[in-house]
């Protein structure tokens, strides 16, 4: 009925008419605004905060670490990141104090009269510095996480190989650049602290705020406000911002709204982890990989936060879509003196897949093979064993994706012909074509989902409507609509009878965070289990099999017809029928964290992209003109919404690969305004041709797998490979700006 159809978004009309309020649009009586005072150095010891005696500070209220009643930590994985710096400063901008006023301009003015004094020490900053330090003296670095993968016999693999190909790859920071800046509103009501915010994970924020305030989890109520984009940037950071707002609200006894302005948001919130990947590959004449020895370093910043899981996913995706018999991967999350990077669509995979997909084209280039053929020789398939021991059981569409994308883009022929294009005086643009094949494992890594024990619920309420009660958040990906489609189809009721209120921790169970492309596949499944259980409960009550149709229940034996309202009245008139289920983690898919082996992800989604570029011979400006892609995602619950995710993710990956320069100078982000942090505009997008293939996953709702992050693994390496096709030059760092092309050519003596 609904699944598989491009139903209009249920929240769409309020968005196109501007009626939907985001957190900065919330108003409460007596509301005050909060702003943050920050540490001025990257590493050091806090000496004091100096308040300008000439400024009238009676207009503002200040909160410092001394005001924290609970623990001065923001709980993410480990309790090591302070909410407010009290003594040691470990990154520039570490929040030191927060203050409030009625008019944000006054609060910002007061900021100018406060000085933070600190004793400076020498910081470790930059992925190049980290790579150098690792090669020189690895024992002097601090590692937050050090996974290792070993498969087969590396030495015999290299012995067998005809060629050895070595390369180093670097990827930089990336800023999420959600259009809506971070914001949280905090207020006290009936003895509880209420947090409303632009956030992805209400159940992350609740315990974090409770810990800082020194209260029980149940005394903090977190509600998601409509969220204007997140991409991972609002997974953990809002816990810190919410704690700040809550502290101010506690001290002033008033509602506090804190909304970052763009420069502050870019400067101090989380970014994608910069990475260094070293690959040494043993290759046969026909392009078959027989050995791979890799080192992966991620810049984890000052505190642990999410880095272990980001590195883990990056490591587990680092062989991309290839089956390699002999593998050794050593990975480290390295501590440094920068604001901790965090979650960002792809979560480690864009970095390592960039390295592997680039390596494949480097191999093709050096061995004079076609990149399509090299990929074909190494593709994973059902039955393949991945480097960490997982055997692929079902739903592997990569070969079909690769074949199809090559056909619609005419890749093989164009690659060869562009390779031969001379430096003719007549032509002012050079053409290139690049290919990348990608995968993404949806859901939490390894035992994550088993540990999470996510619970979701539905309630058939007194009005005969079905409420979806989960903590997952709509941030543009369309889950308000797709979850409703799933429930409507499972119960066979019209969508108008399905309601999905904004997640509120006092009203819904913890279905886990909205991350890791897990919502459709895991939480969608939980909802289908709830639906089945609801039917079972009704059948048990009436002691007959039932059929639901058009919003009514048909008792199949007695041939009676009942409205859903009647059923509720018969079974549970006071509270409606509430069904809660926990995710049924498949016991045959275990992951051993100690050995770092086993089933890393329940299933993978797959994709292949081809990008065609035109390069200006005079300015080295790279312009993507056509982008072909084929993605295999199990089942598109809502095809238009799925295409929206795929297209949006690909353009983000395009920005990552081509123009989103995000440098640090003296511990501060240099491109920290929209004028200088460059993301694609409407004029930067190529013509896009996107196709969806479906190989249903047996445990996914209607066969669906995860898709949110998959497209962000794809375009950056395809662009890099297209540039290789144009110039015959291996550029192993992104973004590939004209400046980087020129500097690489100069360094290699070509220019």
């Amino acid at each position: 009925m609904y699944v598989g159809k491009s139903i209009d978004r249920v929240d769409g009309w309020d968005k196109v008419t501007g009626k939907l309020r985001f957190i900065a649009d919330y108003r409460m009586p007596d509301m005050l605004y909060g702003v943050t005072v920050r540490a001025p150095v990257s590493k050091g010891r806090l000496k004091s905060i100096v308040f300008d005696p000439k400024y009238d500070f009676s207009k503002v209220v200040i909160v410092t670490a001394k005001d924290i009643p609970g623990e001065n930590f923001v709980h993410i994985i480990k309790d090591d990141m302070p909410c407010l710096v009290s003594e040691r400063i470990n990154y520039l901008g570490g929040p030191r104090a927060i203050k409030t006023e009625k008019n944000p301009a006054v609060a910002y003015e007061a900021l100018r009269h406060i000085k933070v004094e600190a004793e400076e020490e020498t910081p470790l900053i930059g992925i190049e510095e980290i790579a150098k330090a690792y090669k020189r003296e690895p024992q002097n670095l601090t590692y937050f996480y050090e996974p290792k993968i070993i498969k087969g016999d590396l030495k015999s693999g290299f012995d067998e190989a005809s060629y050895i190909v070595e390369a180093e790859f670097y990827t930089g920071f990336q800023e999420h650049l959600y259009l809506e800046p971070q914001g949280v509103l905090a207020y006290k009501k009936n003895g509880k602290f209420h947090i409303v915010g632009s956030l992805q994970c209400p159940y992350y924020v609740r315990p974090a705020v409770a810990k800082v305030l020194g209260v029980k989890d149940e005394d903090v109520v977190v509600v998601q406000a409509p969220t204007g984009g997140a991409f991972g940037g609002k997974e953990d950071y809002p816990s810190l911002l919410a704690a700040h707002s809550a502290l101010l609200s506690k001290k002033t006894n008033k509602p506090i709204l804190m909304v970052y302005d763009r420069e502050e948001d870019i400067s101090f919130t989380t970014k994608r982890h910069p990475s260094y990947v070293y690959h040494k590959a043993g290759v046969m004449k026909d392009g078959r990989l027989v050995a791979l020895d890799s080192t992966i370093l991620f810049d984890a910043g000052a505190y642990v936060t999410l880095s272990p899981v980001v590195l883990s996913r990056g490591t587990l995706h680092s062989c991309s879509v290839y089956s390699i018999p002999n593998v050794r991967i050593i990975a480290k999350a390295v501590k440094s003196n920068i604001p901790p990077p965090g979650a960002f669509r792809g979560f480690g995979a864009p970095q390592t897949i960039f390295a592997m997909e680039s390596l494949i084209d480097t191999i093709a280039h050096r061995l004079k093979l076609n990149p399509y053929d090299v990929r074909r020789k190494n593709l994973l398939k059902v039955g393949s064993e991945m480097a960490f021991g997982q055997v692929l059981k079902e739903s592997v569409g990569i070969d079909k994706c690769l074949e199809r994308v090559s056909a619609i883009s005419d890749f093989k022929k164009k690659y060869e012909s562009y390779k031969k294009q001379g430096k003719s005086k007549e032509v002012s643009t050079l053409k290139g074509i690049g290919l990348a094949t990608v995968l993404h494992g949806a859901a939490f890594t390894g035992s994550g989902e088993m540990v999470l024990r996510s619970k979701g619920a539905i309630r058939l309420n007194k009005d005969g409507l079905v409420e979806i009660l989960i903590a997952n958040t709509e941030m543009g990906q369309g889950l308000l609509t797709t979850m409703s489609q799933i429930v409507a189809d499972k119960l066979n009721v019209p969508m108008e009878m399905v309601k999905f209120p904004l997640p509120d921790t006092s009203q819904v169970p913890n279905s886990g965070p909205t991350v890791a492309s897990r919502t459709t596949m895991i939480v969608g499944r939980i909802l289908t289990l709830c639906c089945d259980e609801l039917v079972a409960v009704i059948e048990k009550h009436y002691k007959e099999k039932i059929r639901i149709d058009g919003g009514r229940v048909f008792l199949t034996d007695s041939k009676k017809k009942l409205g859903l309202k009647d059923v509720v009245r018969d079974i549970s008139p006071a509270d409606g029928i509430y069904i809660e289920k926990e995710y049924d983690f498949p016991k045959d898919q275990m992951w051993d964290e100690e050995k770092y082996r086993g089933t890393a992800y329940p299933v993978y989604s797959w994709g292949a992209v081809v990008v065609e570029v035109e390069v200006d011979k005079y300015t080295y400006n790279v312009r993507p003109v056509r982008l072909y892609s084929v993605y295999e995602i199990g089942k598109a619950i809502n095809p238009k919404a799925a295409l929206g995710q795929l297209e949006g993710g690909m353009i983000q990956s395009l920005g990552y690969g081509l123009m989103e320069k995000c440098e640090m100078k003296n511990g501060k982000f240099f491109q920290n305004r929209l004028q200088t942090y460059i993301i694609p505009t409407a004029e930067d997008v190529p013509e896009m041709h996107t196709e969806i293939l479906e190989i249903p996953y047996s445990r996914g709702p209607f066969g669906a797998k995860g898709i949110g992050e998959l497209p962000h693994n794809s375009v950056a390496p395809a662009l890099r490979n297209a540039v290789l096709n144009v110039f015959g030059i291996e550029i192993n760092e992104i973004p590939i700006t004209p400046e980087r092309i020129v500097s690489t050519m100069k360094n290699r003596g070509i220019l």
């Binding site: 491009s6 209009d8 978004r9 929240d11 769409g12 009309w13 309020d14 968005k15 196109v16 008419t17 501007g18 009626k19 939907l20 309020r21 985001f22 900065a24 649009d25 108003r27 301009a105 999420h176 650049l177 959600y178 259009l179 809506e180 800046p181 409509p226 969220t227 204007g228 984009g229 997140a230 991409f231 302005d261 763009r262 941030m475 543009g476 990906q477 369309g478 238009k640 919404a641 295409l643 929206g644 297209e647 949006g648 993710g649 690909m650 353009i651 983000q652 305004r673 929209l674 004028q675 993301i679 694609p680 505009t681 409407a682 004029e683 997008v685 896009m688």
Partner: protein
């Protein structure tokens, strides 16, 4: 304090505001017309786009005091009540050109401006006229298709 009489979304409105307020501040704080969004405050994202005297402008860069009495302003709240605005909004729904929704008000206003100048713009013109409105979610393709649906080209 400055006093002005503007026509906002077709209604004659008296406003009073202080000298340093931008148009976006008057709309959002004084008039509670919060449909117009602030994404950057420096004119780079287009989320604050409004139509002033039939011309697309960025309300975060307009000092409110520079708008004289009689200025006509159309915001997203008013677009729904115009035939062109409503047609555009319906097209955005059909094309799934809305994801998180934050850029959408500005995008709708920019489209309104485009279509009031050019009846059936081609794809190049659409891209060019929307180049001042950043979107991080959609990849823009569905937005181009929405505009083409609104003009009957699709």
């Amino acid at each position: 304090m400055i006093k002005r009489r503007w026509k906002i979304n077709g209604k004659n409105t008296q406003v009073e505001f202080s000298e340093e307020m931008r148009l976006i501040d008057v709309l959002r704080e004084t008039l509670d017309l919060v449909g117009t969004k602030e994404g950057c405050g420096e004119g780079e994202c287009g989320a604050c786009s409004v139509i002033v005297n039939s011309t697309l402008k960025l309300s975060c860069l307009l000092l409110a005091a520079t708008l004289s009495d009689g200025t006509e302003i159309l915001t997203i709240e008013g677009a729904e009540n115009t035939p062109l605005g409503k047609r555009i909004q319906k097209a955005f729904m059909t094309a799934n050109a809305v994801q998180c929704g934050f850029c959408t008000p500005g995008m709708v206003m920019a489209t309104y401006y485009l279509l009031s100048k050019v009846k059936k713009p081609d794809r190049e013109t659409i891209k060019s006229m929307l180049s001042g409105n950043l979107c991080r979610c959609t990849g823009y393709k569905s937005i181009f298709e929405a505009v083409e649906i609104a003009t009957g080209r699709r």
